[in-house]
C-alpha cells in the first residue's frame, strides 16, 4: 500500500484533548509524525496582563484542567517572589498537600485514559472511580472539583474544614490498597506487556535534548525531580523517594507514574500529620492592600492604578504531574502583572513525538501517546 497522511485529531479518540497528530503511514507502519497544536489557545498569558494578581489564579485552573493545583502553585510562587510576599508555613503545607492530591488525581486520570487506549475497559472505570474520591476531598476544602481558585498570593483562601484530615486518611488507605489491583490488571497481563514493552523508547540524552521532563525523563533513568532538586513549598521537610525506571519505554513510564502515586500518598500522609499538629494562620498578615480587594471601587479606578509598589521579578518552577512547569512574572509596580510567561512541560513532551513514534505501528500510537500524558490545556494555554 502506498504511503498516506492521516490526521489523528483534532477530533480523535487518541488525542484526549484538542490537538492534531498528523501521521504518515505505510500500511500499519509509522513513517513520520507531525504534531499540530493551537486548537485550544485561549491567550491566557496575555489575559493575565489585564488582571489583578489574584484574578490570574482563575486562569491557572484552566491551564491544565486535570492538574489545576499544580498550575496555581506555579503561578503563586512566581507572583509571591515578584510581589515580595512570604506565605506562612501552614499555607506551604496546605499547598503541598493540594499539589500531591492533585498529582494523585491527575495520575489516576492518566491511568484511566491510558488503559482505555489499550482497550482495557474495567480499569478505566476503576481509575475514574478512585479519582472521584480524591476530587471529593478537593471539593471538601476548596468547594470545587476542578477549578479550585484556592491558593492566594500570600497564602491560601481558607483553612481545612473540621474532620478533613481523617476523611483524607480514609481515602489514602483505600487508594494504597487499590494500586496493587491496578498493577495486577496491567503488569500481570501478558497482552499488556506485549503492547507496552520496548515501545516508544526515548533515551535520556534524546529526552534532555528535546527538553522532555517529568515521568518521561525519569522513566529513562535520569533522576531529576524538582521537588528534590529545587525544593519549593514544604518539600524539603518531607520524606519521599524519586520514582525511577530505566526502560525508557511505555512500561517504564507506567512504573514511574505508579510509584509516584505511592509516593504522593506517602507525602500527603506526612502533611496531614503535620497539619494536625501545627494550627496557625493560613494567609500572610502583611499583604499589599489591593491584593485583598481586587476590584477597584467604581469611580476610584485611578486611585488604584496610581499606587506604586516595589517592582520585582518572579520565577518559579514546579514539578507538575506531567513534568517541569516554569513561570515568569514581572511586576512593574502596577496592580496587574506586566508580563506573565509559562513553560509547559507537555509542550516539550509532545514536540519530541517524532523521536518516540516513528518506526512503530499505528496501533502503538494510543499507548505511546497515552504514556506521554498529554494535557492540551497547558500546551496551548
Amino acid at each position: 500500500m502506498s504511503e498516506m497522511w492521516i490526521n489523528m485529531g483534532p477530533q480523535h479518540p487518541m488525542t484526549h484533548g484538542l490537538w492534531n497528530l498528523r501521521v504518515r503511514i505505510d500500511g500499519e507502519m509509522i513513517r513520520d509524525v507531525d504534531p499540530e497544536i493551537g486548537y485550544l489557545h485561549r491567550g491566557i498569558e496575555k489575559i493575565s496582563e489585564d488582571r489583578h494578581y489574584n484574578e490570574v489564579i482563575t486562569l491557572m485552573d484552566r491551564c491544565c484542567y486535570v492538574a489545576g493545583f499544580a498550575w496555581e502553585h506555579l503561578y503563586i510562587l512566581a507572583a509571591e517572589q515578584a510581589l515580595h510576599v512570604t506565605p506562612p508555613e501552614r499555607a506551604e503545607y496546605l499547598r503541598t498537600m493540594s499539589d500531591e492530591l492533585q498529582r494523585i488525581a491527575s495520575h489516576l486520570m492518566w491511568y484511566a485514559a491510558f488503559v482505555q487506549d489499550l482497550g482495557l475497559m474495567s480499569p478505566f472505570l476503576y481509575g475514574m472511580r478512585d479519582r472521584d474520591l480524591v476530587l471529593d476531598l478537593l471539593q471538601d476544602y476548596t468547594g470545587a472539583r476542578m477549578t479550585y481558585e484556592y491558593m492566594r498570593v500570600g497564602g491560601v483562601r481558607s483553612d481545612l474544614p473540621a474532620g478533613f484530615t481523617d476523611r483524607a486518611r480514609k481515602v489514602l488507605d483505600w487508594l494504597s490498597d487499590r494500586f496493587h489491583e491496578y498493577d495486577q490488571l496491567c503488569l500481570g497481563s501478558a497482552i499488556f506487556r506485549k503492547r507496552c514493552d520496548g515501545l516508544g523508547v526515548l533515551r535520556a540524552n534524546d529526552a534532555v535534548a528535546h527538553g522532555v521532563t517529568g515521568p518521561m525523563l525519569r522513566s529513562a533513568g535520569l533522576k531529576r525531580d524538582l521537588r528534590k532538586d529545587r525544593p519549593y513549598a514544604a518539600y524539603d521537610r518531607l520524606e519521599f523517594d524519586v520514582a525511577l525506571a530505566d526502560g525508557a519505554d511505555v512500561t517504564a513510564r507506567y512504573l514511574v507514574r505508579m510509584e509516584e502515586l505511592r509516593q504522593s500518598v506517602r507525602i500527603v500522609r506526612q502533611v496531614l500529620d503535620w497539619l494536625d499538629r501545627h494550627p496557625g494562620p493560613s494567609v500572610a498578615d502583611r499583604l499589599p492592600r489591593w491584593l485583598g480587594a481586587p476590584y477597584a471601587p467604581i469611580g476610584n479606578e485611578g486611585y488604584l492604578l496610581k499606587r506604586s509598589y516595589p517592582k520585582g521579578i518572579g520565577f518559579s518552577s514546579v514539578e507538575e504531574p506531567h513534568g517541569e512547569a516554569q513561570a515568569y512574572v514581572v511586576n512593574d509596580g502596577g496592580e496587574h502583572p506586566y508580563r506573565v510567561k509559562f513553560r509547559s512541560p507537555v509542550f516539550a513532551n509532545i514536540s519530541a513525538a517524532r523521536q518516540y513514534l516513528v518506526g512503530y505501528h499505528v496501533a502503538d500510537i494510543p499507548p505511546i501517546m497515552g504514556s506521554v500524558d498529554v494535557c492540551v490545556g497547558e500546551v496551548d494555554r
Binding site: 487518541m14 500499519e28 489499550l118 482497550g119 482495557l120 474495567s122 497482552i191 496501533a363 494510543p366
Partner: protein, 376 residues
C-alpha cells in the same frame, strides 16, 4: 402429550390463522385456504417469522446481559432505568437509532455503502435458520448443517470490507483491511478445531454432534480444540482482545466510522448476532447442546421445553465468559494477532485434530473410559 417442535408450533399457528380466515370466506375459497399446500406455505413463513423474532429478541437480551455483566465487572450497575433492571434499555436505544437520519459521506460509493451492512445483517441472521436449539427445534435434518453455518459465518469479512472501502474514509479502510486479514487468518484454526469435533462425532450434522455427546461432552477430550475454537471465535466476533478492526483508540470506530442511524444499528445487531452464533456453536460442539449430563436428576430435564431452557442457560454462560474476557484484557496489535493466529493457533488446532483422531482410533477417552459406539 405431543412433543412441541418448531414445525408443529409453526403448523399450529398457520392452521389457526387460516382457520380464522377460512371461517369468513365463502365455501369455495375456504377449501383453497385450508388446503395442505396453503397451510405448509404459511407455516414456512410463520417458521421464519418465529426464528427472526426469537433471534432478534435473544440478541437484544444478549446486549442487555453484556451491559449488566460489564457493569458489574466495572463496579457499576449497567442499564438500570428503562424497564425492569434496564431490560428495555436496548429497545429504547434501537428506537433512537431507528429515528436517526442515515447520511452517507458525499464521496462514498452509494451501492457498497448500503449493501455492506445489509448483507452483513442478512447473512448473520441466516445462520439461525440452520442452528438446532433443542431436539425437534431445528429447520430440518441437514446432513452438512455445521459446514453450512460456518460457511455463512465466514462471509462477513467480505461485507465488512465492502462497506469499509465504499465509506471512502482512511480509518474505515484500515479497519476493513485489518478485519479481512484477521478473519481470514482465524478462519483456519476455527475450522480445524471444528474438524476435531467432526472427527470425534463422525458427522457434520449439528443434531448428530449433540447426540454423539450423550456419553460425555466433547470439551473433555477436545479441551485443546475448545480453547482454539473460543480464541478463534473471539477473533471472528471482533471482540476484545481481538477487536482491533474497530479499535476506537486509533481507528475511531474502524470500518463503521462513517455509519450512523439504522445502518450502524445493523452492524451492531449483526455483531451481536454473530456473538450469539459463536456462543451457540460452543455449546453445540463442546458443551452437549441442550442435553444435561446423566448424573443430573432426570426431573431437571424432563419438563416441557427443558432442552431450550438449558440450551439458553449454557449459551448465556458461554457469552458471559466472552464478556469476562472483554472486561479484563487489553487489545492486541495486528501483527501480534496474526502471528499468534498462524504460528500458534494453527499448530494447536492441528494437534487437537490428531488427538481427536487418536481418541476415535482407540475408542477410549482417558478419564471417561471406553465407549463401543464412539465415532462413525
Amino acid at each position: 402429550m405431543a412433543t412441541l417442535t418448531l414445525y408443529s408450533v409453526a403448523y399450529d399457528i398457520a392452521r389457526g390463522l387460516l382457520g380464522v380466515l377460512g371461517s369468513v370466506l365463502p365455501a369455495g375459497a375456504r377449501a383453497v385456504v385450508l388446503s395442505g399446500d396453503a397451510v405448509t406455505g404459511l407455516a414456512v413463513l410463520v417458521f421464519a417469522a418465529v426464528l427472526l423474532a426469537a433471534s432478534m429478541l435473544n440478541t437484544i437480551l444478549l446486549i442487555w446481559w453484556e451491559r449488566k455483566l460489564l457493569g458489574r465487572f466495572m463496579d457499576r450497575r449497567g442499564a438500570m432505568h428503562v424497564g425492569y433492571a434496564g431490560l428495555l434499555q436496548n429497545f429504547a436505544d434501537g428506537l433512537k437509532l431507528f429515528r436517526k437520519h442515515t447520511f452517507p459521506p458525499r464521496e462514498a460509493d452509494g451501492l457498497g455503502f448500503y449493501f455492506g451492512p445489509t448483507a452483513y445483517m442478512v447473512t448473520s441472521l441466516a445462520i439461525f435458520g440452520i442452528l438446532p436449539i433443542s431436539s425437534g427445534w431445528n429447520s430440518g435434518a441437514l446432513p452438512l448443517s455445521l459446514l453450512l453455518a460456518l460457511t455463512i459465518f465466514s462471509f462477513a469479512p467480505l461485507f465488512i470490507f465492502v462497506s469499509a472501502w465504499s465509506s471512502n474514509n482512511k480509518y474505515s479502510l484500515m479497519g476493513g483491511l485489518r478485519s479481512a486479514a484477521q478473519m481470514i487468518a482465524y478462519e483456519v484454526p476455527l475450522l480445524l478445531a471444528v474438524v476435531a469435533v467432526v472427527v470425534l462425532a463422525g458427522s457434520f450434522d449439528l443434531t448428530t454432534i449433540v447426540y454423539e455427546q450423550r456419553n460425555y461432552w466433547f470439551w473433555g477430550p477436545l479441551f485443546l480444540a475448545l480453547i482454539v475454537f473460543v480464541a478463534a471465535m473471539l477473533a471472528e466476533m471482533e471482540r476484545i482482545p481481538f477487536d482491533l478492526p474497530e479499535a476506537e483508540a486509533e481507528l475511531v470506530e474502524g470500518w463503521n466510522t462513517e455509519y450512523g442511524g439504522m445502518l450502524f444499528a445493523f452492524f451492531m445487531l449483526a455483531d451481536y448476532l454473530r456473538a450469539l452464533v459463536g456462543s451457540i456453536l460452543v455449546v453445540l460442539l463442546f458443551l452437549g447442546g441442550w442435553t444435561l449430563p446423566s448424573w443430573v436428576p432426570a426431573g431437571l430435564s424432563s419438563f416441557p421445553l427443558a432442552g431450550i431452557l438449558w440450551f439458553m442457560v449454557k449459551t448465556y454462560a458461554v457469552f458471559g465468559l466472552f464478556v469476562w474476557v472483554r472486561a479484563s484484557l487489553p487489545r492486541v496489535r495486528t501483527d501480534q494477532l496474526l502471528r499468534v493466529g498462524w504460528n500458534r493457533m494453527i499448530p494447536l488446532a492441528l494437534l487437537s485434530v490428531f488427538l481427536a483422531a487418536a481418541v476415535v482410533t482407540v475408542r477410549c477417552v482417558p478419564v471417561l473410559g471406553c465407549v463401543p459406539s464412539m465415532g462413525a
